[in-house]
Amino acid sequence: MKRKDQIIQLMSEMASYLLDEDPMRLVISLHQEEDGLHLAVIDDNDHSDEEIAELERKLNSRKRPELAAYYGAMTGHDQLGSARLDLLGWSIKHADVEKMNPGLKIDLWLGGDRFDSRQFTLPGKKPASD
């Protein structure tokens, strides 16, 4: 699968999941590296601890190549019904889910690990000045 297609699928599935609760703010941020990429997704809705635990579980599920290459094609594409983050979990390296006040922040890593989530940038690059 082309990287562009994969990014679109990931963004679409995450957006589908979070937009179900109709947030007033939703930010999806992409940082690409040579050997991977990072997606940060932020919203402003309230999420229960149970939901966050379930999110972590699905996004960090066991790798399933036999499912990812076949059923993974539905990620971010076939949206009739509830969002299915387990499809996404099979094809990413790992994910962090952090509760914010309000809302939550989800970090998805594919391939590279260089992204510094706290600084919200790749090390070695100057953050954009205001």
Binding site: M1, K2, R3, Q6, D35, G36, L37, S61, R62, K63, R64, P65, E66, L67, A68, A69, Y70, Y71, A73, M74, H77, D78, Q79, L80, G81, S82, R84, D86, L87, W90, S91, I92, K93, H94, L110, G111, G112
Partner: protein, 424 residues
């Protein structure tokens, strides 16, 4: 595509499920030899060169022993490919192996499935993927085994030409399956559990057109075993009770809470109950499905033969991958209503097979409710009674084909309505 990172170790469920499957398949071979002695082996050999298109009941053709031997061989091939690919057993692989075993009683043989698996492997390597990426497609894609058989044994070729063209036909078929499978998945968005049934049916339309275009005929009588034998009557119920016993022994009361969790799932593809709940919860679900499925056949006075035992094994396979009692009963009810309304006997081959295999549409009831499930069952029945002739019976998952078409029309209408209805 960027790397997804290292795969993790095999889960606990792998060892649990693989032991159960090896014991089950070995038991089939032992029972086969005990029923028919060494005639089982000659029956097994007879099946290999027999036409396999729907409906050819291998129990009628080769006896109980030969049919069980063939089914177990097909199941072991599926299991061997899982092991060779390094994929642990879980919901989808369990479903694939049990489905292959079931259809080894009426259509699949080692000889007619291997070229298709090879074709899928070549497709995977062509685009730089590994066999494990397309393992599920390869295993379920063996539904087109009868196409290999039809080329080899029904078109009048000499033996060397029959083998050559059969193998070539199977490889070409397998090569096309991954691309078709993904496209078909989008058509019903995961609401038809037997997606390879739709994919193989779609391909089968073209294959049947080619064969018929060159003067071949795809007619023939159905072969249906209608006597009764205790081994056939008790095989699935005993298996069901054993599975329930193992689930309760291993998981205790937790098996019931896991079963409850399974019942809360819509079952939409891909719903792995082994991973999502637990192997014990899945096994409890599988056992219940087997027992209640057998009870249905017994109540309507159906024959316990190759196609029906194969059907029960298939739905027990999908008891780990999308099917459960709560999402299945509305669709079955729809099929029963449609069969009665159209004057069909519930124990006739078409209606009884539809009542078992219609559970391919269980996710529609799981997601959209009981009424949607019943309507889906009615439409499915009307479709499946026609679709078999379209592909000349070469697609063994004919219910998966009809179910896919039914799911596609449901999904199209619901999506159109939800997307376009003005918000208040």
């Amino acid at each position: 595509m960027v790397s997804m990172g290292p795969e993790r170790d095999f889960p606990r469920s792998h060892g649990f499920l693989i032991i159960i499957l090896i014991v089950f398949l070995t038991a089939m071979i032992i029972v086969g030899f005990s029923v028919d002695g060494f005639h089982a082996f000659s029956g097994f050999l007879r099946i290999q060169t027999h036409p396999a298109r729907l409906l050819n009941d291998y129990i009628e053709i080769a006896g109980i022993g030969g049919a069980l031997l063939n089914a177990a061989s097909v199941g072991f091939i599926g299991l061997a490919f899982c092991a060779a690919s390094g994929i642990p057993l879980s919901g989808p692989t369990w479903a694939a192996v049990l489905t292959m075993t079931g259809f080894g009683l009426f259509g699949k043989t080692p000889l007619n499935i291997l070229p298709i698996i090879l074709g899928v492997y070549i497709a995977a390597r062509t685009i730089g993927k590994k066999m494990k990426d397309y393992l599920i497609i390869a295993l379920f894609g063996t539904a087109l085994g009868p196409l290999v058989g039809a080329i080899s044994w029904e078109l009048g070729f000499s033996l060397p030409a029959a083998l050559l063209f059969g193998v070539l036909g199977g490889i070409i078929t397998g090569f096309f399956l991954p691309s078709i499978a993904v496209a078909m998945l989008h058509l019903h968005q995961g609401y038809n559990l037997y997606n390879m049934g739709l994919s193989c049916g779609f391909f089968g339309l073209f294959a049947a057109a080619v064969i018929r275009g060159f003067g071949g005929t795809l007619g023939g009588e159905s072969v249906w075993y209608s006597r009764s034998h205790p081994v056939l009557i008790f095989m699935i119920p005993v298996m069901g009770f054993v599975f329930i016993f193992i689930a309760l022994l291993s998981g205790g009361k937790k098996s019931f809470s896991d079963l409850k969790r399974i019942f809360s799932s819509s079952g939409r593809l891909p719903s792995d109950f082994v991973d999502g709940a637990s192997p014990e919860g899945a096994l409890l679900n599988i056992g219940l499905i087997g027992i209640l499925g057998s009870a249905y056949i017994w109540i309507v006075g159906g024959d316990f033969n190759g196609p029906l035992i194969g059907g029960l094994l298939t739905i027990m396979g999908f008891g780990a991958f999308g099917t459960h009692l709560k999402n299945s009963w509305p669709v079955v009810a729809g099929v029963v209503l449609a069969a009665l309304a159209t004057g069909n006997a519930l124990n006739a081959p078409g209606p009884i097979l539809a009542a078992i295999f219609c559970t391919t549409l269980a996710p529609l009831a799981g997601e959209f409710g009981i009424i949607a499930g019943i309507i889906a069952g009615i439409i499915h029945f009307l479709m499946v009674m026609q679709t078999g002739s379209w592909h000349g019976g070469m697609n063994l998952y004919n219910n998966g084909f009809a179910g896919g078409l039914t799911a596609a029309i449901f999904v199209s209408v619901i999506q159109w309505y939800r997307t376009n209805k003005a918000e208040k």
